[in-house]
């Protein structure tokens, strides 16, 4: 579903991501772990087609993000670490705008917006302007917008930040549902307990370089993920 080959991205003299390669298969939840400034967001943004990279290739569903960015973007949904959503729109206007861009059919968008906004308990707030939303509500809105077009690949940067426990549980359920339907998820997190329980595979990045990746059981062995992570990054 997502194939990253020798991805390299520099900002000035600093290499934010250095020769990183990863392969995420359909049905897989892939966790991406690293310290602050390790290069997680740069990698995720490159995969989402937001950031241009210096060298390497990224394939989404067999399509190159460089050659066919629009084709790739149709298959993915991206949620950033800080959901800065249009404050001049109401929640429902934003969701309808996203559905328009993805050309989601009228009946399907109504059904999905209804379903996901009910799940995240945001329905009654959809007429409110986004400017009145809390961080958690904006995060929920970003999540709902991500599910409207039923993406094949979900790329998320710290998706659980700001969510209440119930919403966090709902997100995990939806992640599993998407993967059981053949989709894939690539997300970053600092909550190692979540990564350990939720992810099929894990990659650990340090100073732009991938230091370990593979199935969760193999990466952590008999230790906890926290111990493994601390050993590897120190």
């Amino acid at each position: 579903m997502l194939k990253i080959e020798h991805l390299t991205k520099s900002f000035g003299n600093k290499k934010a991501v250095d020769d990183l390669s990863l392969h995420i298969r359909p049905g897989e939840i892939y966790g991406f772990i690293g310290h602050n400034g390790a290069g997680k967001t740069t990698t995720l943004k490159s995969c989402a087609g937001i950031l241009q990279f210096d060298s390497g290739e990224i394939y989404i569903n067999g399509k190159s993000i460089k050659q066919d960015p629009l084709g790739c973007k149709k298959d993915i949904a991206y949620i950033p670490d800080n959901p800065d959503i249009y404050e001049f729109m109401s929640g429902i206007q934003y969701l309808n705008f996203i559905a328009d861009i993805y050309k989601t059919e009228k009946s399907k968008r109504e059904e999905r917006i209804g379903k996901y906004s009910d799940l995240f308990e945001l329905t009654s707030d959809l007429a409110q302007p986004v400017s009145s939303y809390s961080h958690g509500m904006k995060q929920k809105l970003a999540l709902i917008s991500a599910f409207i077009h039923e993406p094949k690949l979900l790329i998320m940067d710290e998706p659980f930040v700001g969510l209440d426990p119930k919403a966090a549980f709902t997100v995990k359920e939806l992640m599993r549902e998407l993967c059981s339907n053949g989709g894939a998820i690539f997300f970053s997190t600092h909550v190692l307990e979540v990564a350990e329980k939720l992810c099929d595979s894990i990659a650990i990045i340090k100073s732009g370089k991938l230091i370990v990746s593979g199935p969760t059981a193999e990466v952590k062995g008999n230790e906890s993920l926290e111990d493994v992570f601390l050993e590897l990054v120190e």
Partner: protein, 531 residues
């Protein structure tokens, strides 16, 4: 602690002016020189305007009413300071993004408030200087050297003048914030209120000469009214004109006491004001059928929504359109006088169409909807970048939206002015075509300017819409470009007639539009994707 707060305020102000958005790199020397020239130009214009005004008012001093001369200076300086700072107090004092951060620190709220008020006071001093420097310079030029007591009084009085204004603008800003937070349609109300304010300002400005004459003709009665009604102005006048220390003390008290009261009141309630739960009623969503749109239509609707929900963006970028409509109304009312005037000037007879065309083109140059439109994306730029939409389409839509908003206004003003002045069919069609072509050029030129000067880390949308470099470049660049067909046209008209001028200007703008569009859709797309 207080000096650290002040330092952070000044750093924020200078950073906003002299650093670019990307990685906060320092602005180049070229940018600073450009800003310097622009600042000198604006200051020189203001000095000239106020200098001429005060030169007329020296008549007061000649009839023994020197204090009234300075009282008028106080009134004008206070009005300028008030207008300049009243809309900033709300955003700087109560809606500042770092209020909650600072309030969480062991910093007394009174210190936070004082540091913000000092930065506002400095801005007020700049406004005051624009009025007071020409007033004093003209006075000294006309009446020669002054006594030491007068000089001391001038300095102290001028230092104190903005203090009273600041107290009033803080109070007014607080009231505005309190009222605005409880309104549901505050965008429309703010836009209408600002528009009315602008119309009132233009009306008073157009009558400036009349008011000046009225002041001069009714000096005695106005002086007695000032004495009774505006006693700070009266004592400011006496202190400056005669070096009257008692008046200076009364003026000082009239500035410091209200300021101290407002400062004390705001200090006590600062936390409550900053953290107040805004009182707008919640709108509960009821599920209903959704309207679908195509990609382009959705993007245009999004631009419209952004434009409509930001009164400052709307008013600042569409000011040329407001002038167009006001101009048409003015032409309609004053048609006879203007026709008579043009009949008295044979050198411009036959050039009415060209002049109307030039005016409309200059007003389209003042309309900068597309110029800050990329900046306005701010931190939400990731949305457009992650969606399956062509970058070319995004940039084109920004230009289309500009054109869509402008076209009705341009058409109405072009057609109405052609009808009012009874232009022949060729001139009428030419005015319409050239105005539309200039509108299209301004739209793409604005997008190009924004691609060349992007800035996403603005503090308020108002600052982004008003102070972006792209807006300055688009507005003054479009105006400067308008002079090319204007000057060339003047020579062509003499030799070949007005039809050739229309043809030249039309082709000039069509060619420029094509070239600018090519830049936007070719190089601009790559620049946008690197943002």
């Amino acid at each position: 602690m207080f000096s650290a707060l002040l330092k952070s305020r000044f750093q924020a102000m200078f950073s906003a002016m002299f650093r670019t958005s990307k990685n906060k790199k320092k602005r180049g020397i070229g940018f600073k020189v450009l800003i310097g020239f622009f600042a000198v130009y604006v200051i020189a214009c203001m000095f000239f305007v106020f200098g001429m005004m005060f030169y007329s008012l020296t008549a007061f001093a000649e009839i023994g009413l020197s204090w009234l001369y300075f009282a008028v200076a106080w009134t004008v300086a206070s009005a300028l300071c008030f207008i300049g700072s009243v809309f900033m107090t709300q955003s700087q004092l109560f809606d500042a993004k770092d209020n909650e951060l600072l309030l969480s620190m062991p910093v007394p709220p009174s210190y936070i408030l004082a540091s913000r008020m000092v930065s506002l006071l400095l801005i007020n001093y700049l406004y005051e200087a624009l009025v007071v420097i020409p007033a004093i310079a003209v006075y000294v030029y006309k009446f020669g050297a002054m006594s030491a007591a007068q000089i001391i009084c001038w300095i102290v009085a001028c230092v104190l003048l903005p203090v009273l204004v600041l107290a009033l603008s803080c109070l007014f800003g607080w009231l505005l914030a309190a009222i605005a937070s409880r309104l549901r349609n505050k965008n429309i109300i703010t836009a209408v209120a600002s528009l009315l304010f602008l119309v009132a300002y233009l009306y008073i400005y157009s009558k400036a000469q009349y008011y000046l004459n009225m002041l001069l003709e009714n000096g005695e009665s106005i002086a007695s009214a000032f004495k009774k009604a505006v006693f700070p102005a009266y004592h400011f006048g006496l202190a400056c004109a005669d070096g009257n220390i008692l008046s200076l003390l009364i003026f000082a008290a009239s500035c410091i006491i209200p300021f101290a009261l407002v400062y004390a009141a705001l200090s006590v309630s600062f936390i409550r004001i900053c953290t107040a739960n805004k009182g707008a009623k919640k709108i509960v969503y009821r599920k209903k059928a959704l309207k679908t749109s195509g990609t382009r239509s959705a993007l245009i609707k999004r631009e419209l929504s952004h434009f409509w929900h930001s009164p400052m963006y709307m008013l600042n970028s569409a000011i040329g359109l407001v002038f167009m409509i006001l101009g048409v109304v003015y032409l309609g009312i004053k048609r006879d006088i203007l026709v008579q005037l043009s009949a008295q000037m044979p050198e411009i007879s036959g050039l009415t169409g060209l002049i109307l065309c030039a005016v409309i083109v200059l007003l389209t140059a003042m309309t900068c909807i597309s110029a800050p439109s990329i900046n306005m994306e701010g931190k939400s730029l990731w949305i457009l970048r992650s969606l399956p939409v062509n970058s070319k389409e995004i940039l084109e839509v920004k230009a289309y939206f500009h054109i869509a908003v402008c076209v009705p206004f341009v058409l109405v003003s072009a057609v109405a002015s052609a009808v009012i002045f009874g232009l022949d069919p060729i001139s009428s069609i030419s005015v319409i075509v050239i105005s539309l072509a200039a509108t299209a050029f301004t739209a793409y030129f604005g997008v190009a300017a924004n691609l060349l000067f992007p800035k996403f880390d603005w503090i308020s949308e108002a600052a982004c819409a008003k102070q972006s470099m792209s807006v300055v470049i688009a507005m003054f660049g479009s105006m400067a470009i308008a002079f090319i067909p204007g000057i060339c046209g003047f020579f062509i008209a003499k030799s070949y007639g007005t039809v050739f001028v229309y043809l030249f200007a039309g082709l000039f703008y069509i060619a420029l539009t094509i070239l600018t569009r090519l830049f936007v859709v070719k190089k601009g797309v790559k620049m946008f994707e690197k943002l």
